[in-house]
Every structure is written in C-alpha cells, then in structure tokens.
Amino acid sequence: MAKDTGHAKFAVTLALALALCVLLQSAAYAASVLKVGSSGDEVVTLQTKLKRWGYYTGSIDGKFGTQTKKAVVYFQQKNGLVADGVVGPATAKAMGMALSTSSSGSSGASNSNSDLYLLARCVYGEARGEPYKGQVAVAAVILNRVKSGEFPDSISGVIYQSGAFDAVKDGQVNLTPDETSIKAATDAMNGWDPTNGCLFYYNPATSTNKWMLSLPVTLSIGRHNFCLGN
C-alpha cells in the first residue's frame, strides 16, 4: 500500500512539474517591471528621474531597494496611479521611461537602426560582464568580418553564420541588450576598434577549437583572446 501511495505521489508530482514548466514558459514572455530587487541601467534612469523631481533622496546606485520603493509609492500617489511601489507600464509611461520587454521585441530608439540593435544583441549575448573595452572589441571583430572577403558581407550574415557565435547557437543573442552593449555597438560602428583589425576571439578557459587555439594571440581583453587570423 505504501508503495502504491508512492506511485500516486509520483504521478501527482509529475503532473505538477509539467504544469509548472508550462507556467514558467509563459512567464518568461511577460513584459518586465521594476520592483524591489531589480537592478541595472533602467533602475539608474528611474532613480535619476525620481531624484530630479524630489521624490527620492538616496544615492543613484542602480539598485531598487526600500528607499526607491518609497519614492515610487510617493510618485504614484501624487500622480493618481495605483500606489504599489512597482514600476509597471503605467507608472513607466507617467515617468516618460521605456521599459524593456523580455520577449525579443526591440525598444524605442533602436528600431531606427536594426543593424546596430542586432550588433548590440550579439555583444550582450557574447560579452556581457566583460570590461567595456572587451564589449566594443567583440563588436569590432564582427564589423571587421563584414569588411573581410572571407566572411559574409553583412552584419546579420556574419552574426548568423553557422558556428560563428555561441550566443547565436544557444539563443542568448535574443536577449534584450542593456545600455552598455548598445553603447559598445555604437562606438564600434563609429570606428573604435580596440583589437586593431582582429577577425577572431575565443575564451581560452572554455574553447576547445584546436584551430582557434593555434592562432597567434594579438591581445587579451578580460576573458577573451583576440587574433588577427592567418
């Protein structure tokens, strides 16, 4: 009997797990909000605005804490919004901010330049967490490839070339890029090339590509080695 109950429990757990999977999947496509625990450039923008308008007195540190929440509630009360301390679409609109969404849609200004936005997405997927110079370097390698005869002749051709970027293979290229990667892509588009003409880069700690590892290294930035190629 104990065994049977065990089976029943297993079946129930399985069903629950399946249902949870479905729920998690749908949650991943919802629009993002800013609330206690959020951090990043959007929070910096939020804090800057609140401080400028006198709702917020704390430091602009990009971290959504209780002080930021209080300021948001204060702002919401003053502006006739639901005072829940969460910055959703309505509050964001009242503040004149654009919130990113976690689906692959692009936000505001970046629409005007799809190449720049794609470049930023690849930089974000491949090199977020790298030093700024390293992010520009990744964008510069992509642009150097476009100019080289050995590679496809467009930014999208280079980025989506088979086997070229891990972030394309595992889908991270579809994440919404942050301000930093957009700026890095812009700087690279404007000509800054910290790699001085490199066509390849790899992470020596994780790369298993023998051919890549055999290339002479031109320079290293952060976790990446950059190479001119042959």
């Binding site: 029943a8 399946l18 005007s112 070339q161 088979s162 790699t195 051919w211 320079l219």
Partner: protein
C-alpha cells in the same frame, strides 16, 4: 462493519484510483511526447529545407558564374563586355549570400567565400576600367582563364554533391556541411587552392594587407609611450598596460579617473602616435544642440587637434550620443578636403573636454600628396550636375575611387525633392564620380 468499509475505501484508492491516475498520466505523457516529436520533426524539416534551398541556389549560381566567365573569353563588343562583367558581380554577390546560409562554419567555407568575393570584386574593377576606356590587359585575360577553370571545378564538385544527395540532413546539429569528409574548401596555410588575383579593389590581397602609410618616425619604448599617453589621457597614472601587434603595433594603457570613469588609450610603437583614446562623458545628453553650442564643441575639438600637431583639419560630420559630440575631421590641402585622412574626436558636452579620439583612418592613409590644380573651372563642373539638383554649396575634395586611387573632384551639395545629395564631378575629366544621399538622423548632422 465500519472497519470493513474503511478497508474497502482503501482498496478503491489503491486498486482503482491510483492505477487509473497512473494510466492517465502515462497516456497524456505519451500524447505530449508524440506531439513534441512531431513538432521537432516539423522544425527540422523546415530548417533542412531552407539549407537545401540555399545549397541548390549556390550550385545554380556557381554554374551561372562559370557560364558568364566563359562568355567573357569570346566577347568582342564593349557593351556586352560590361554587361557580362556586371552580371558576374551580381552573381558572385548572390553566391556569397547563399554560402552564408548553409550550415557551414567559416573554417569550412572561408576560403571559398574569399575566392567568390574576389571574383566579383575583380569583375567590378574590370567594369570600372572598361568604362574608363581601358582595354583588358594580357594579365587580365590570363586571370580570367584561370577563374573560368577553377569556377568550373567548384561548380562540378558542388553539383556532384547535390546529385548524390550529399546534402546532409543531420546538418542542424553539426556544422560539418561541406567538409568533415574532405577539406576541399577549408582554410589552409597556403592559398594555393584558388588562383591569386592581382587587381585594385576593396577585397584584393594587396588592399587587405595594406600597411599604415601614415605611421612614420622612430621606434618608441614603453616608457616614452606611457609618458605620451598620460598626457593625452590627462591622468596621473594607469592601472594596467600591455602591447598588441594588430595591424598597427601598439602599446595599450588603461586607467580610471577619480570620478570612476575609465579610459583606454593606444599609442603606436613606431613614432609614438595616438591611435585611439576612449573614455566616456560625464553627462548623458543626446540630440542635436543649438548652433552656438555646436560651434563651441567644434572649437574644443579643433584646439585639441591642433595641440596634437594636426593642423588644417575641417569638421565634416557630427553625431550626438551618450553625452558626447562625435565630430569627424578631414585633412585639407590646397583647399581640397581629403576624406581618407579622417580623425574622429569625441567631446564631452558638459565639460567640453576631449573624451575620445580615433586616428586610425588618418594613420592608414595620410601621405605627402601632390594635389594638382583643377583643370575644369567650378562653373564648367557645375554644368555637368543634373538639372534636378538645386545646388546649395560646393567645395574641392579628394575622394577615393579605388583603394589605391584618389581623384580630385568638385563636391556639390544640393536638394532634390526635399532629399539632400552630394555629387562629385571629376575636376579633370568632368565625369560624375560618386553620388551620395544624406540621411539625416535625430542624432547626426552634416557640418560642412
């Protein structure tokens, strides 16, 4: 009795409900699994079909390319010659595009990609030559013969793969589409798999291996470079330093200002020249500022350039983003703007300080030039411009027509139906050399 009832209920749970629940779970899992499998198959088919389509088109393009190259060997009329060359250029573009859509990595198809790009680039260079009235040289005819032969081999090989069904269906999970079996098109140390082409175009070997002509002077050591860099970055010390042997060998430095902003700077090993300086602005302003501010920003950049020894520079274009004004400056000689000799300067919009510079273009192209006086007068050149263009201003400019050739032109800026254009008329021959459309964005501005 009561006990019996409870036992009976227990039996119902263990003997009926639990097995039933399990059966339902298993059936629904099986159903779910089958559906997932069908979905996966559908995706795989769709992807494979796209790959196959691209590969088929690649084969067709290679055949067409060979056919066009063949016709070129027997063509006599100048018009047909140019039309064929133009066709080759177009087909090679399509080939490269299809090549990028099959699941093969750069390692497998890089050399083939380069070869096809060069065939098109070469045809385009020959078109320009033909239109300028030059006839093809013996060398050109020789090269075309080689191209015809090699393209034929490639077309045959690709078609053979197609006919024996050597288009792997398992392509989605591997990037071993064209090779793995052999290394027909793989990158190797020597490029002997494809004929070498000698011509003047953006993808030619000579262009890709071009030296930085503007980098001259004595070798400097790290200490000297550091001293120069500290002054340029306006910082007391650096956090880290190194050197790199990219296209221009350089010393690299990284520092952090008191307010937390970072700065990177790169100095050439030869001559101790600034390649680039990159930091960020203190503010976040964007959008085009008012005219007075634009002038101030321009002046700040010009003063800085002149302090670095770059005299005779003219602002040509400006962009405003992330708290900076990025202004392009071109070198001016004999009243002619030399567009190749370009330096970009980033000015902080709040402090008017210099937070970035990029002299790479200048270092690659700047040489002592002997710019001739224009043969045509401005009025004669203006007569060659389309009557549809309302000319607003004109200048003399030295513009690149091939990677190694520059021509002195009159530059006419004007409007047609509200759109802005720049037209370049050769100051010697009166030919129209280039036409640009100006695309104004919310952050960019032509400052000529």
């Amino acid at each position: 009795m009561k006990y019996e009832k409870a036992e009976k209920a227990g039996h119902i749970i263990t003997r009926v409900i639990v097995p039933l629940a399990l059966v339902v779970a298993v059936v629904s899992l099986a159903f779910w699994g089958t559906q997932q499998r069908a979905l996966a198959d559908e995706y795989k088919n769709t992807a494979t079909n796209m790959y196959k389509r691209a590969f088929n088109e690649l084969c067709t393009d290679m055949n067409d390319l060979q056919t066009a190259l063949g016709k070129l060997r027997v063509v006599t009329s100048p018009t047909q010659n140019v039309l064929l060359l133009d066709d080759i250029w177009r087909i090679s573009g399509s080939c490269v595009s299809m090549l990028s859509q099959i699941p093969s990595s750069h390692l497998d198809v890089g050399e083939l990609n380069l070869f096809i790009t060069r065939v098109g680039d070469y045809a385009h260079a020959l078109t320009k030559k033909a239109l300028a009235g030059e006839t093809a040289s013996d060398e050109d005819r020789d090269q075309l013969d080689q191209l015809y032969a090699r393209c034929g081999e490639i077309a045959k090989d690709l078609n053979d793969r197609l006919s024996v069904g050597d288009v792997p269906v398992a392509a989605i999970t591997s990037d071993e589409f064209l090779t793995a079996v052999d290394d027909t098109y793989a990158s190797t140390e020597d490029e002997s798999k494809f004929p070498t082409l000698i011509y003047d175009g953006p993808f030619s070997e000579s262009t890709q291996k071009q030296e930085a002509r503007g980098v001259t002077g004595d070798e400097v050591d790290m200490d000297k470079a550091r001293e120069l860099a500290l002054k340029l970055a306006d910082i007391p010390s650096f956090d880290s330093e190194g050197d790199s042997n990219g296209k221009i060998p350089a010393y690299d430095f990284h520092g952090t200002y008191e307010d937390g902003r970072e700065v990177d700077i790169s100095i050439t090993k030869t001559g101790g020249l600034l390649i680039w300086l990159m930091s960020s602005a203190t503010g976040t302003a964007s959008g085009i500022p008012d005219d007075a501010t634009v002038e101030e920003l321009k002046k700040a950049a010009l003063d800085w350039l002149s302090a670095q020894g770059y005299e005779s520079m003219k602002a040509t274009y400006a962009q405003y983003y992330a708290g900076t004004a990025l202004i392009n400056f071109a070198y001016v000689e004999n009243d002619a703007i030399v567009y190749n000799d370009l330096i970009k300067v980033w000015v902080d919009r709040e402090t008017r300080g210099i937070v970035g510079a990029d002299a790479r273009n200048y270092l690659f192209s700047h040489v002592e030039r002997d710019i001739p006086a224009p043969t045509l007068s401005k009025e004669e050149a203006e007569a060659k411009v389309s009557v549809n263009l309302d000319i607003e201003s004109s200048e003399l400019a030295l513009i690149p027509v091939t990677p190694t050739k520059e021509r002195l032109c009159y530059e006419f800026k004007g409007k047609c139906d509200g759109d802005e254009y720049i037209v370049y008329i050769d100051a010697e021959t009166g030919e129209e050399q280039q036409i640009f459309v100006i695309i104004n964005t919310e952050n960019g501005q032509l400052t000529l």
